[in-house]
């Protein structure tokens, strides 16, 4: 097990190294000189000189790279061109909103997707089967930001059932020890705040969860169908095992293996989806941060964002692989 984790960790190193080289040259590839790119169009000569001194753009390239690595190691990505806010601080401030949304979206997809896929497979070619296959096709072809629009328009604007934007009613003046608003409300006992945050989360989570939900339904269905056909299921039946035992221990357990891989593979898609969903629902998460940065060509923010996300992505993938090898011992060998 330890050897597996070590081998898996060794794979992360070249990725992060490659990425750091990429990001290092990235700012240097920008049109014009890097100092000007970092400061924006209205930079003064004084400011440019100062940036050149701080970042060492006047030094030889290998030395510059080492300086760059040193700054990254200290978590220093500079400040936003637009607001002057420290990039690391800005990212950490917004990250909980994205985490909350991602957990809600994926949670919804798993809680709905696995039972739906299982039932669809059990009653193959039944109404539920056709419905879920059709709906999962829709989930794949409808862009997440369009679905977000539709949900917002129907449930927030037309019907007025749910809030259309933001994470919580500011008038509640809730306290936020963790930044995960629903959890905050529960921890501090401010139940109205927790409920309000949860209501704000429903539509974004539905929009974000739709694609993973569609994929989970399809994979669960296919995988259960495959396992139902296996010899060991027939053997279990022939042995006269109770139907529930066969379903739980033989069918579900084995069918869940491909499903858990698929859930792991959703990490990247979930992130991209979160960025798009946050933009529609004005949730102040990293997506919103990225969106503004792109539209103002805020390079320090973009550079920091890419590295943060790549590291998080690598860690999530590592955790997925490790947990998978715990569920299925065979995976450790390959």
């Amino acid at each position: 097990m330890i050897a597996f984790i070590a081998r898996r960790l060794a794979l992360v190193v070249p990725v992060l190294f490659g990425l750091s080289v990429l990001l290092f040259f990235w700012v240097r590839l920008l049109p014009g000189d890097p100092a000007r790119a970092l400061l924006g169009e209205r930079a003064t000569q004084e400011g440019i000189d100062r940036v050149n001194r701080i970042y060492g753009f006047d030094k030889p390239v290998p030395e510059q790279y080492l300086l760059f690595l040193g700054r990254i190691a200290r978590g220093d990505f500079g400040a936003s061109i637009r607001t002057g806010q420290d990039v690391t601080a800005g990212f950490l401030e917004r990250f909980p909103a994205t985490v909350e949304l991602a957990i809600a979206g994926l949670g919804l997809a798993i809680v709905l997707g696995v039972p739906l896929g299982y039932l669809a497979a059990r009653r193959r070619d039944g109404l539920l089967d056709h419905l879920s296959v059709g709906a999962s096709l829709m989930g794949v072809v409808v862009p997440v930001f369009f679905l977000a629009y539709l949900l917002k328009w129907v449930f927030a604007i037309r019907l007025g059932w749910l809030p259309s934007a933001g994470r919580q009613d500011v008038r509640l003046d809730a306290t936020h020890p963790t930044g995960l608003f629903v959890l905050d409300g529960v921890l501090t006992g401010e139940w109205d705040a927790a409920w309000d945050a949860a209501l704000h989360l429903v539509l974004p989570a539905l929009a974000l969860g739709a694609i993973p939900l569609a994929i989970i339904v399809r994979i669960t269905r296919a995988s259960v169908l495959e396992v139902l056909d296996e010899d060991f299921v027939r053997t279990a039946r022939a042995k006269g095992l109770a139907r529930n035992v066969i379903r739980r221990r033989h069918v579900l357990r084995n069918a869940m293996l491909p499903v858990s891989t698929t859930i792991g593979l959703q990490a990247g898609a979930l992130l991209a989806g979160a960025v798009l969903t946050e933009t529609v629902f004005a949730l102040n998460g990293v997506g919103e941060f990225l969106f503004t940065a792109i539209n103002h060509l805020d390079y320090p923010v973009l550079q920091g964002f890419i590295l943060f996300i790549a590291v998080i992505y690598a860690v999530v993938n590592l955790l997925v692989d490790v947990s998978y090898s715990i569920i299925d011992p065979r995976a450790r060998l390959s």
């Binding site: 794979l11 992360v12 070249p14 990725v15 490659g18 990425l19 990429l22 990235w26 590839l29 920008l30 049109p31 096709l137 829709m138 794949v140 072809v141 409808v142 862009p143 997440v144 930001f145 369009f146 629009y149 539709l150 917002k152 328009w153 604007i157 694609i211 994929i215 296919a222 698929t262 593979l265 959703q266 990490a267 990247g268 898609a269 992130l271 991209a272 989806g273 960025v275 798009l276 933009t279 529609v280 990225l290 969106f291 792109i294 539209n295 060509l297 390079y299 973009l302 890419i306 996300i309 790549a310 992505y313 690598a314 993938n317």
Partner: protein, 300 residues
């Protein structure tokens, strides 16, 4: 847009010609519906200038737009105006052009580079294989969106940047797929026979193994056309796409419609439906192809 998920393994019947495949494809209603959608989409894109009398992004009727209202359908404008005072139908029709050119070119680019990599890896094996697979490992470990954002940020906001960004994310997927498919052929009887006949390695790889390995890659390419359509819109939704305001693009139409969701929801609804229907067309064809090419399904 999404990270390239590992495509389900597809095994393809060896040595068959494409005619029975086409015959079985035609018998599937889903494939026909998909083909009809795609055909319509291509026709609209190609003949866009002939379909409406107006120019995209002309903003000719900007004077009619007020903060609270956008003129809806009426004489002269079948679908009404957009929020800048251009004809909405013209914008939609010309938007198909953007989606088609960028989506198809990006997929073709990703397919070409990815297949070349997969062909080298699967055909040559050894250290070439190892190097190519490590390269795809690194590429797959960066979320597709980030790859796209970085490419577009370096190259500026342009359709070319979007194409390269989308293609880059597909390269590792195509490479792995073709390699895996070729590895499965390596010890098949016909390859062994070709080898014992003394055919050259290049001839065996290109003339024998490749034609028998492309099935899954073709299926994947069709499915990728669907995601590419969505990704073009997603990147443009994030502000990375086409910067020229006179070029109509579905994703950007959606962003611009956001502020008017309450008063003119059709401004968001129509481009969104266009994107979804186009993606549906490609997906239906891809899924049908997958099922037809899968030997497990021959009985059905």
């Amino acid at each position: 847009m999404s990270a390239p998920a590992a495509p389900p393994p597809v095994t393809v019947r060896v040595g068959g010609s494409w005619r029975p495949v086409a015959r079985r494809l035609v018998r599937r209603p889903a494939a026909l519906v998909g083909a009809a959608i795609v055909l319509l989409f291509v026709l609209v894109a190609v003949f866009a200038p002939l379909l409406t009398p107006y120019q995209p992004g002309s903003a000719e009727w900007a004077g009619l737009i007020t903060p609270s209202s956008v003129p809806g359908p009426g004489p002269g404008h079948l679908l009404g105006l957009d929020s800048f005072g251009s004809d909405l139908l013209t914008q939609l029709v010309h938007g198909a052009r953007q989606s088609l050119t960028i989506g198809v070119t990006a997929t073709a680019l990703g397919l070409a580079v990815g297949s070349a990599l997969g062909l080298l890896a699967g055909g040559l094996g050894g250290w070439v294989d190892t190097a190519a697979m490590r390269l795809t490992d690194v590429m797959l470990s960066i979320p597709a969106l980030l790859l796209a954002v970085s490419v577009a940020a370096v190259m500026g906001r342009s359709p070319l940047a979007v194409m390269i960004a989308i293609a880059a994310a597909q390269v590792p997927v195509f490479a792995r797929l073709l390699r895996g498919s070729m590895l499965a052929q390596r010890n098949r009887d016909y390859v062994v026979a070709a080898r014992s006949l003394g055919l050259s390695r290049g001839r065996i790889v290109l003339g024998e193994m490749l034609p028998n390995s492309v099935g899954p890659v073709i299926v994947q390419a069709t499915l990728v056309l669907a995601t590419a359509t969505i990704e073009v819109a997603a990147l443009s939704f994030l502000g990375l796409g086409q910067a020229d305001p006179t070029v109509a693009e579905w994703g950007r139409m959606l962003v611009k419609a956001q502020a008017r969701l309450e008063t003119a929801p059709h401004l968001a609804l129509l481009p969104g439906v266009c994107i979804a229907v186009t993606a549906l067309g490609f997906t239906l064809i891809g899924e049908a192809l997958r099922e037809v090419l899968d030997p497990k399904n021959t009985t059905r």
